[in-house]
């Protein structure tokens, strides 16, 4: 019961924050609200038993990406213009997409159903056999690092790509003493 009440409150706050972001024109406020949104999401993840994800969302969504966005605002501008274009087309697009999503939910198993396909097919293997096969208490770590370790290697590659991408876009690779003189050549 308590859980339901917490969830309802969290949802109300999430939706309020999201709507506020739509309307706000001060970018500083937008970024702060998006940090709040991430923190609320992290709390929601805790109630859904995903503590690892909550930890990451808090560190990334509320931490790093807020810092980066503040940095961007400092380098660009602090407010947005009021939208000038008509909002009918976006609204139609969004309602259409939402309708397809809604249609898709109609045949979904109930929330928390222990007999849902996702719960009975692969999950039991990870939750029982990983004790013998990997012997790590945190099953999320077992899957992340070993069963689906290749996805994690891909994830590291994505981070690597982003790192060198930002360097390429903003500054380029600098070596110890090599400076701009030779760029002109």
């Amino acid at each position: 019961m308590i859980e339901t009440i917490i969830n309802v409150i969290l949802f109300a706050m999430l939706v309020t924050t999201a709507f506020a972001i739509v309307r706000t024109t001060r970018l500083f406020a937008v970024v702060m609200l998006s940090g709040v949104f991430s923190l609320l999401t992290a709390m929601l993840f805790v109630t859904l038993d995903a503590v690892d994800v909550a930890f990451t969302e808090a560190a990334v969504g509320a931490g790093i990406s807020t810092v980066l966005m503040l940095g961007t605002i400092a380098l660009t501008t602090r407010s947005t213009k009021a939208p000038t274009r008509s909002s009918t087309m976006p609204l139609v697009l969004v309602v259409l997409t939402g309708a397809v999503l809604f249609y898709g939910t109609l045949d979904m198993p109930n929330f928390g159903d222990p007999n849902a396909p996702a719960q009975v097919h692969l999950a039991p293997h990870y939750l029982t056999d990983s004790i013998e096969e990997i012997d790590v208490p945190n099953v999320v770590t077992s899957i992340l690092a070993s069963y689906r370790g290749f996805d994690t290697l891909g994830e590291v590659a994505v981070v690597f790509t982003a790192g060198i991408g930002v360097l390429l876009i903003l500054s380029g690779l600098r070596r110890r003493r090599e400076e701009e003189e030779e760029d002109e050549a």
Partner: protein, 522 residues
């Protein structure tokens, strides 16, 4: 379990590792380039690694040409618990295209990149290029639905960066990259929604296992929504009309070497993913029952063939014209899918390859013109065919292949497509295909006219492009001619791939036979 594998384990050989090496070699090259941080080493490393990829891809293609498949269990975990690489005729074919394009583009890139991108960015540029190759090949080779997303993002993120590198010539490359980033991310997120819905109904992420568990679930609304999201999400990556809005600017403002590689491979890999999901995961029956091919994909493909061709005709810039022509050519590929027959799919696979090499020639030609004329507006490349005879001739061959003139590769794919139309007594469709090829005649003629029938512009450098650019261009141009005359290799490979796809999923047969064998042992 653990002891059992230990006792029976026989050490894997190099041949067993080929599927992972296909990805691993370009993958590791990227951090190695950054780690050494040496500008003079970056290009040789990238080139050697592309060459090795091509050798591996060829070996893989030959070994699955009999219609069999190779399964590689990453981390040693048998699917569906772990991630599986599954190479069959269809994806070996696309892997070959990507590896071959990378190997051909790399020598071309050396001069082109030196000309278009400031020196301090070269090292990281090649690292990024390798990541892009890795991402595309990873998307194609994997048998795991979520792994597709991870590698898709590697290729997409590196593509955004590569496109933005055109900003040193024209600042619009930045907004092109940004728009592509927004649309690409929306597409990827749609794709993730689709995978999530599928996971919800099947409880697995392995494509073959998904296929087994989706059997008979055709009227499940969650599955239908998943299908819609996967097709639209990937359609954004394919630049399937009308989701193509990012493509003209991205192709136009990206550095020439990047445009060449992307035009020949990126959209092709995405088309492969759509086909793979349609035919292997959802199964042909499901796709047929939804009527999406006849009522949505088919008409949109036809629209793309005409609308994009018409826009291409009215362009004043060679590079931008080619970008619109790509959108039109994607229409041909989707039309082959929409016909829903083995011949239709064969046409798609053949065109995937032939259009890849054709566009490689043309965009390399663009790069060479860029080097000498500084820009590719028709009035500035005027007469360049006379001062750059080798480049000009290669562009003409590419142009003929783009139209589909007999004797070129482009003819073969259109011929198979027309055959597929006749198979189903759709003679009007065959006429439409021929009619849209006539539009290609017009836009290719405008290029030829500019290159040969006008006086050279005084500002241009009147000199043939360097050999390092001309040679790869001619390799691709000769491929265009060769595959137009000797059709066996490509047609056979494409037909095997198409038959495999139309047969639906091979399922988790290997696992069940292994389990059966284990059961009889006891």
């Amino acid at each position: 379990m653990a002891t059992a594998t230990e006792v029976h384990h026989t050490a894997l050989t190099l041949t067993d590792h080929l599927p992972i090496l296909q990805i691993l070699i370009p993958f590791c090259t990227a951090p190695l380039i950054v780690f050494f941080g040496s500008r003079s080493l970056a290009w040789p490393m990238a080139f050697i690694s592309s060459l090795l990829s091509l050798i591996i891809a060829t070996t893989l293609l030959v070994s699955v040409s009999d219609g069999s498949y190779i399964s590689y269990h990453l981390g040693g975990w048998a699917p569906p618990v772990g991630i599986e690489y599954r190479v069959d005729a269809a994806n070996a074919f696309v892997l070959f295209l990507i590896a071959a394009t990378a190997t051909v583009v790399m020598p071309f890139a050396l001069k082109s990149v030196a000309h278009e991108i400031p020196k301090r960015n070269h090292t990281l540029f090649y690292a990024c290029f390798m990541l892009c190759i890795t991402g595309l090949m990873g998307v194609v080779i994997t048998g795991d639905a979520f792994n597709v997303f991870v590698f898709l993002e590697i290729s997409s993120l590196s593509t955004y960066v590569l496109v933005s590198q055109g900003s040193h010539r024209d600042k619009r490359a930045l907004t092109a990259a940004y728009d592509y980033l927004i649309m690409g991310t929306i597409g990827a997120t749609f794709f993730v929604i689709g995978i999530g819905f599928l996971y919800m109904t099947t409880g697995t992420l392995n494509m073959a296992d998904m296929a087994d568990r989706l059997q008979g679930q055709g009227d499940n609304r969650t599955v239908q929504a998943a299908f819609a999201f996967i097709v639209v999400g990937m359609g954004l990556k394919v630049a399937m009309y009308p989701l193509h809005l990012w493509l003209p600017a991205a192709y136009n403002y990206a550095p020439s070497a990047v445009t060449t590689f992307l035009a020949a491979t990126a959209t092709k890999a995405a088309i492969y993913v759509i086909i793979r999901f349609m035919f292997t995961v959802f199964q042909p029956d499901f796709v047929f029952d939804t009527h999406i091919l006849i009522w949505i994909i088919g008409p949109l493909a036809l629209l793309a063939m005409f609308a994009a061709s018409l826009i291409a005709i009215f362009q004043t810039n060679f590079k931008r014209m080619l970008a619109y022509s790509s959108i039109a050519q994607i229409g041909y590929m989707m039309l082959g899918v929409a016909m829903f027959s083995t011949t239709g799919l064969t046409a798609t696979m053949v065109h995937l390859f032939n259009h890849g090499i054709t566009k490689a020639v043309l965009f390399m030609g663009v790069g060479a013109l860029m080097l000498r004329a500084g820009t590719t507006f028709y009035d500035r490349i005027a007469g360049m065919g006379r001062v750059m005879p080798l480049t000009g001739a290669a562009i003409v061959i590419g142009g003929l292949s783009l139209i589909g003139v007999p004797g070129t590769a482009g003819f073969i794919s259109k011929w198979v497509l027309v055959q597929a139309a006749f198979e189903q007594d759709l003679w009007w469709l065959a006429l439409i295909i021929v009619a849209s090829s006539l539009l290609a005649v017009i836009y290719v003629w405008r290029v030829v006219e500019a290159l040969y029938l006008q006086e050279p512009h005084p500002d241009a450098i009147h000199k043939e492009a360097p050999m390092l650019m001309v040679a790869p261009m001619w390799v691709a141009a000769i491929a265009c001619l060769y595959f137009g005359l000797d059709t066996r290799f490509i047609l056979d490979a494409a037909a095997t791939a198409a038959e495999g796809l139309m047969a639906g999923s091979a399922g988790m047969a290997e696992i069940s036979t292994a389990a059966a064998a284990a059961a009889t042992d006891h």
